[in-house]
Amino acid sequence: MPKAERGEKSLLPKGFKQLEPWVAEWVLADSRARLEKRITTPADRIRAFYDAMLAQAPPALAYLATRQLGALDAAEERLLKLLLSLAEMGPAVEWYGKGETLDGFDARRFRLVAQMPDNQTQRIPA
């Protein structure tokens, strides 16, 4: 764990400490980075992340359901980003057993030209 991160109170919100080992590898910049991670990660490594996250996902989602996008602190944002990586890896495990889709069309040929920001309010200003 880098020194700068050790200086913070904790990497993840209270109660989610057991997910901290996954932060460095699976907290990613955005949807594009998550797809890239999926198609460049071996199936067994995806599966290990999936299993660890799935066990904690119900309480993590229940926790974030009490928080608002755009108003998350750094630890909460990391937890959200771990869950967003799980959202990307879900079909890899549940549908295909590996990163690429059935029949293997190169996912990089789809360009994500507009994406939903990870942590920005979506409420329409009145």
């Binding site: 909460e76 507009a114 939903m116």
Partner: protein
């Protein structure tokens, strides 16, 4: 009672004897000459969707939309009179683009070449050192405008300077039947784009039949869009409305989701299209699940020529096909999800996006293989199942539009390639 009884195998095509039931020629999918005729007879004279009103809500807002088929972008801008207008992004002086940003807010468009300036209404308002020009009439030198109109918040343009139909007439019965859907509720937006080596209509075909779902999508949406009660993925219904068509797609209400998928559905701002869950508060217009089937998951509404909406009760997606040649297409998919009301719902949104993208990825190798068979003349006729009626319909509509247009300026012109 099972769906083999509920959904008949030969119930759809028989309603439309004009379409026939025989094999259909593949000529429209691979002939470069026919492609040129499509450009003239269809794409240069039909209304083409370029975005939504939410992309330019305020005076001064603008965005550009690339039209790959034509190789240029159009600017959509909202002027002081609150009206939206569409312009070619071309300076009247020497042809440079007057706006380089993809979207933004401004009071005027200033060409970055010599500084000619145009108002948001397209009028030429400033020419540096104008006295050096000869007989310059600024009133005649505004940005070239395209016809623009709006259907249910979707902005359409027409390349034809004098469109033969209004947008409302072009959208027709299907447009009226789908009006009132909460299109403006899908404010969390994402967009994918890809260039696929297949004919533009092949890509539309992917969304017009679910006969392939239990096989090609056996690891993904098979379990939700087909199931023990509908093992072959038959459609609930297909309604042809002029050149357009709406397919109602069956849903497996008994499906138990996978673990991550189930959490995503639980934390979704609107029911996922394949979840079997219906938003009971949603207003479903007449044309959506028109038969009011209980086992309904989504409708696919195809608007001729190149735009379709996949509509559920809680989210929708649009797909648009921009041909580059007879065997190459730019495909654009835009997702419209409801806004997240808490941080956990961002997870449901992400999974909806990923599942949708993965399902489309599954189609694309097949599309490119089919195109090779077409281009090489290895298949010259298609055999359409009753529930592939949408493909048969598209063939007839495309042929008819091209031939009617050619006949309209040359009454003696008979179809060059009668089927």
């Amino acid at each position: 009672m099972n769906a083999k009884q509920k959904i008949a195998a030969q119930s759809l095509t028989g309603r439309h004897p004009e379409l026939g039931t025989g094999p259909v020629s593949t000529d429209i999918y691979c002939d470069p000459q026919f492609y040129e005729r499509e450009l003239t007879g269809i794409f240069r004279r039909t209304w083409l969707c370029v975005g939504r009103v939410e992309q330019a809500p305020k005076v001064g807002d603008f965005f550009q939309k690339d039209l790959p088929t034509f190789g240029f972008a159009v600017i959509i801008a909202r002027a002081k009179d609150q009206k939206l207008r569409a312009f070619f992004n071309v300076c009247h002086h020497r042809g440079n683009h007057v706006e380089l940003r993809q979207s933004g807010h401004c009071v005027a468009f200033t060409c970055p070449f010599h500084g000619w300036t145009y108002g948001l209404d397209g009028k030429l308002v400033g020419v540096p050192d104008a006295s050096g020009f000869f007989a310059l009439d600024k009133s005649q030198l505004g940005l070239r405008q395209l016809a623009l109109d709006v259907w249910e918040g979707f902005i359409f343009v027409n390349i034809d300077p004098a469109p033969s139909q209004t947008l409302a007439a072009a959208m027709g019965e299907q447009g009226r039947d789908l009006a009132g859907y909460a299109f403006d509720g899908g404010t969390a937006v994402f967009e994918y784009e890809g260039t696929i080596e297949c004919n533009w209509k092949c890509m539309i075909d992917s969304f017009c039949e679910t006969y392939h779902v239990p096989i090609l999508h056996k690891h993904s949406v098979k379990e939700t869009l087909a199931g023990p009660d509908n093992p072959y993925g038959r459609l609930i219904d297909c309604r042809l409305k002029g050149p357009h068509r709406t397919m109602s797609v069956w849903g497996n209400m008994a499906y138990t989701p996978n673990p991550v998928q189930g959490l995503a559905w639980q934390y979704s701002p609107g029911p996922a299209v394949t979840s079997g869950v219906r938003d009971e508060r949603a207003v479903l217009p007449k044309g959506l699940n028109e038969t009011r089937a209980p086992n309904w998951s989504l409708d696919v509404a195809v608007f001729f020529p190149n735009w379709l909406i996949v509509m559920g009760s809680g989210m929708y997606f649009t797909h648009q096909m921009w041909p580059l040649s007879a065997n190459k297409v730019v495909w654009q998919m835009r997702g419209f999800l409801r806004p997240a009301s808490n941080a956990a719902q961002r997870f449901g949104q992400e999974n909806a996006m990923v599942e949708l993208r993965d399902a489309v990825l599954e189609d694309c190798n097949t599309l490119e293989r089919i195109q090779v068979s077409l281009d090489q003349g290895l298949i010259t006729e298609m055999l359409y199942h009753d529930h592939e009626i949408g493909l048969r319909h598209q063939y007839h509509v495309v042929k008819q539009w091209v031939e009617d247009f050619e006949r309209s300026f040359n009454p003696d012109h008979s179809a060059q390639e009668a089927p």
